[in-house]
Subunit: 254 residues, 4 copies
Amino acid sequence: MKVGLMGFGKTGKAVASVLLQSRETNLQWVVRKSHTLEHRSVPEFLGISSSEPGFIYSRDEFQAKELINKLPVDVIIDFSAEEGIEYYGNEARDREVSIISAISHYSPEKIDYLSYLAEKTRVVWSPNITVGINFLIIAAKILKKIAPYTDIEIVEEHFKSKPEISGTAKKIASSLDLPEESIKTIRAGGIIGVHEILFGFPFQTVRLKHESITREAFGNGVLFAARHIQDKDVGLYSMEDLMMPYFNIEQNLP
Amino acid sequence: MKVGLMGFGKTGKAVASVLLQSRETNLQWVVRKSHTLEHRSVPEFLGISSSEPGFIYSRDEFQAKELINKLPVDVIIDFSAEEGIEYYGNEARDREVSIISAISHYSPEKIDYLSYLAEKTRVVWSPNITVGINFLIIAAKILKKIAPYTDIEIVEEHFKSKPEISGTAKKIASSLDLPEESIKTIRAGGIIGVHEILFGFPFQTVRLKHESITREAFGNGVLFAARHIQDKDVGLYSMEDLMMPYFNIEQNLP
Amino acid sequence: MKVGLMGFGKTGKAVASVLLQSRETNLQWVVRKSHTLEHRSVPEFLGISSSEPGFIYSRDEFQAKELINKLPVDVIIDFSAEEGIEYYGNEARDREVSIISAISHYSPEKIDYLSYLAEKTRVVWSPNITVGINFLIIAAKILKKIAPYTDIEIVEEHFKSKPEISGTAKKIASSLDLPEESIKTIRAGGIIGVHEILFGFPFQTVRLKHESITREAFGNGVLFAARHIQDKDVGLYSMEDLMMPYFNIEQNLP
Amino acid sequence: MKVGLMGFGKTGKAVASVLLQSRETNLQWVVRKSHTLEHRSVPEFLGISSSEPGFIYSRDEFQAKELINKLPVDVIIDFSAEEGIEYYGNEARDREVSIISAISHYSPEKIDYLSYLAEKTRVVWSPNITVGINFLIIAAKILKKIAPYTDIEIVEEHFKSKPEISGTAKKIASSLDLPEESIKTIRAGGIIGVHEILFGFPFQTVRLKHESITREAFGNGVLFAARHIQDKDVGLYSMEDLMMPYFNIEQNLP
């Protein structure tokens, strides 16, 4: 699978490193807004031995059309910013290149645009694209249906300087129809990221807990999405949509 | 739902207390091997105000046939011992009384006998009948399918005097096709019971954790089983079988 | 050590059960406000085989003077209510009977009265008299001195119906000069009681965590206090005062 | 405080980064066995803006005498290997340069050599030089003295490829006079490092838990050691020796 990556900030670099080390994907290019690192080789920059082309270009240097002509891809992975999609959207639609976007937030207009793209190609959008968090959200929804009488609390821990309630915790709360007050926010030292969903039964407790180790976790989420989008029809998908078939047990479990 | 209870040890008492306090069940009788507490009222003995009949009888005093003639039940709940089923099995089969058994271990002959009973009535057998543990087992199976490359470890903590590896931990291990060495056993002080299934991803960790507070948790599991067996066909079921429909998401989640 | 117990609510009963099972203490009597259970034997009521006298009296039946004349004690243990001390205070002072009080809150007048009693006898007052919590508080104070640059957060988990922030969590916060906002309060199901003090360092985390299993933990705290007050001078002590000598390492550790 | 660093592997780099960012230390040089990165500037290599000299030299290029003549230091910090001390030991002894060594293991001969160096200069040796772990070890020793009747278990979690029981866990076990079987070893995914010391009381549990986030934690431990060795007499010290004064509460706590 030939892939291109939009964005090369801290998370973009971590995702690039996972893509380079995966046999499933072949990194064709990275496009970023800034001119810094222009024309550097990603494998060389990250110190990973790889024969994948993976050079860094700025948006100004090429239009998406030119770039994809030169270096065609099957999937575009977007860790840039909200407006990143303007660069490559129409081109991806026309060529039926799949899109995997991990942008935290899109305006209503951008969401409409995603739907427009999804008429002709496959689009995955997930603000938290880790396998673990998306699994926990689905599992928690199911447990709430099994035991609607439980009290559910969400605890999230992050580094001291993280300013607001974690977007992932808010997503968990809204998925479970819980008010934002169910989220207890802990800020201390250099904690990377912990999310716990606690179900209090009268005589037992169930805790579903996710701990991030490094940003490379997003890379594994991208691989999951890339692998599972391939046999899908065109349309707009969330990570939950891609993961749900695993929960249909009779078909999927031995 | 009229229910009878086999066994009145520590767990039997805890289950009786949950049954008495539930509006879904009406406790008709308790049968135990010992003559201790014979003819005592369960509500009075447990200090629970209830108008349910719930007297204690010994096996010697009545045969199951007589007892159920006098005090008919829809469900027999078994927290006695392996041979308890000999007392009431044929009678339950003939009258199509449902059976919910939480016996830890049955011999192959007894398992055959369960299947024989299940030809004519509904039988649930689950050595750990809590909602939490059975949910965790199914969720863990699914996560293993989603992320087969993870390392899975099982940690169980119990009070110092518990002699062996927890049967529940063994059940979790076998459900996940893991060797018994994946179970790390901690014995310390008065810990009631903790089970954790840890999934180690390269860059993230998912922990599914169950903590028992008191034995009454088994009572809530029995209520779940009693509620979900009602509309099933005759046959032999595990707690997992009863819980699985909740995991078929397209049908069950909003 | 001959002991008398004030109060026979849920916690009083749990403490009585620990006292009866300890070889260090011999329970002479229980005094309570209510007439319920009057003249019942505590060992018999709790189902513990013991040759200790331990009968239950109401405050109205005897004055403290009469009772202690009849059944002298070395230590009075108070799990009753704020005004309990009025019953036995002067008598304990005159006879130099030690006092161990676990009352949550005393008015300033009552605290003055404690100091007055402490002029002539040994008085321990600790609203949370468990060994674990008092150890954690001292250890946390020390770690804060070692690493003043860490961020400290307090998490407390209790059963859904517990109305306010836990008094123990407030005590931890004030011991560490932290505002009450450092306390994150979780209320869910039947959780007995969990307190965690989290120290966030830039590149590591230390968590000091206490989990209550049952109220009997208070009984072990009473035994610790009773054992350590014996060789002390008259005066007013907290559990921390009694525990601190263990922290003077050069003298106390091998 | 002018410091020199031996070793520039993964941990050496992390420690260098903390040293460069601390106002307490000024990094004069890094010496390593390999010729790779020779003459590179550490601030530039790590992408940290700093005016500290901090160049990288190989052992072959200069003897310790020449190097320290050129670039004198107050403290040598050793994250190299067992034989590293041969390079700088005598020179440090003669000039009374303090030594902080984090080498995991020294032969008995090397330990004798450390004692010889410690006759004339201050030497700290600690195989796990984090503040958190050393605090936990002392706190655990104290709790064991307070509650000798508790059951103690040690749990350590690390990444899948870590081959043996963690040296830190072994150190904890030996400090508490526990057999190695008290250590439960979990290996899964990319877990950086977790150590938990669990005290099981009859009716409560205390857990002392340390989680490593990144190797930079060792840098903060080095800063603690460097700060606390300054006013000490010549001699051989462990991290515990330097930390113990904080536990002498009457003198040190308000």
